[in-house]
Amino acid sequence: MSAASTVACRTILANISAYLDGELDTTACEEIERHCQGCPSCSDLVRELRETVGLCRQASSVPLPEAVRRRARESVRHLLDRESDANRSPSE
């Protein structure tokens, strides 16, 4: 690996999150993409980091375990029913 590519690789490493988050301008994005075309290790890094972020984002849509959801729903209904009874006037 040449000294020039090492410097470029370090720049990629420092900016990779901003790149993935769409915070870099077009010129900076193009520089990264050009570098990655000729640098397998940076290309792998970008791909793997994108997969890591994707894995986390998929996790956000996993529903809670069914038994936990059931207990949570029961707690909500119990609380709302209790509050509704308490707010009802004695004449009702």
Binding site: L13, I16, S17, A18, E48, L49, T52, V53, L55, C56, R57, Q58, A59, S60, V62, P63, L64, P65, E66, A67, V68, R69, R71, A72, R73, S75, V76, R77, L79, L80, E83
Partner: protein, 195 residues
């Protein structure tokens, strides 16, 4: 669903719940509990505390919604409340015995065994259910990250909070949140590779 959509969705539920819409209140309280459970398990890692933190989120959200003046700030309030509840739980654990002696253990030997066996089986069933929840490799890798990095990563990537919201909740600058997120992603990638 994007972070902005989730935020406006929360705000819309808060506004509707505040006017007495029971269905909106139910949905809001369920979502608050789900967020509390995920955060507690993924960030704090104490499975035994997760449902307590969830219960606290339920009661506090219900009380808070009645007096909220800025529905858009609800998410920041919720995660600050959940984070504080987790921290309080952790502090309470310090100095506590690792094994609790229950009231039932003062009963006769036969009674004590049966109560203990029932409790053990229930705990094992809960443990199996929790172990099977979410990607096990991701959960194991997250557990190995230092807490400040794990907190930022879970809030940004899993809970979908903005950099600004995370900065407010964790009381650090937005630049610091970005730096932590960047390092956390690199650490997580490395840990996932090792799994």
């Amino acid at each position: 669903m994007t972070a902005v959509t989730v935020k406006t969705d929360y705000a819309a539920l808060v506004k509707a719940a505040k006017t007495g819409d029971r269905e909106a209140m139910e949905r809001l309280l369920m979502r608050a509990q789900e967020a509390a459970y995920r955060f507690s398990l993924l960030v704090c890692g104490h499975q035994e505390d997760a449902e307590d933190v969830m219960q606290e989120a339920l009661l506090k959200t219900y009380q808070h919604v009645k007096q909220i003046s800025e529905p858009d700030a609800f998410r920041t309030w919720l995660y600050t409340t959940v984070r504080n509840a987790c921290l309080m739980k952790r502090r309470r654990h310090i100095g506590e015995p690792t094994k609790f002696v229950s009231i039932e253990q003062s009963a006769g030997e036969d009674d004590r065994m049966s109560v203990s066996e029932v409790a053990d089986e229930s705990l094992r069933a809960d443990q199996r259910m929790i172990d099977g929840w979410m990607d096990a490799r991701l959960r194991a890798a997250l557990k190995e990250l230092p807490a400040p990095y794990r907190t930022v990563l879970v809030m940004r990537e899993i809970e979908g909070l903005s950099t600004k919201e995370v900065a407010t909740i964790t009381e650090v600058s937005e630049a610091n949140v970005k730096t932590r997120l960047h390092r956390a992603r690199l650490m997580l990638r490395r840990r996932l590779e090792e799994k």
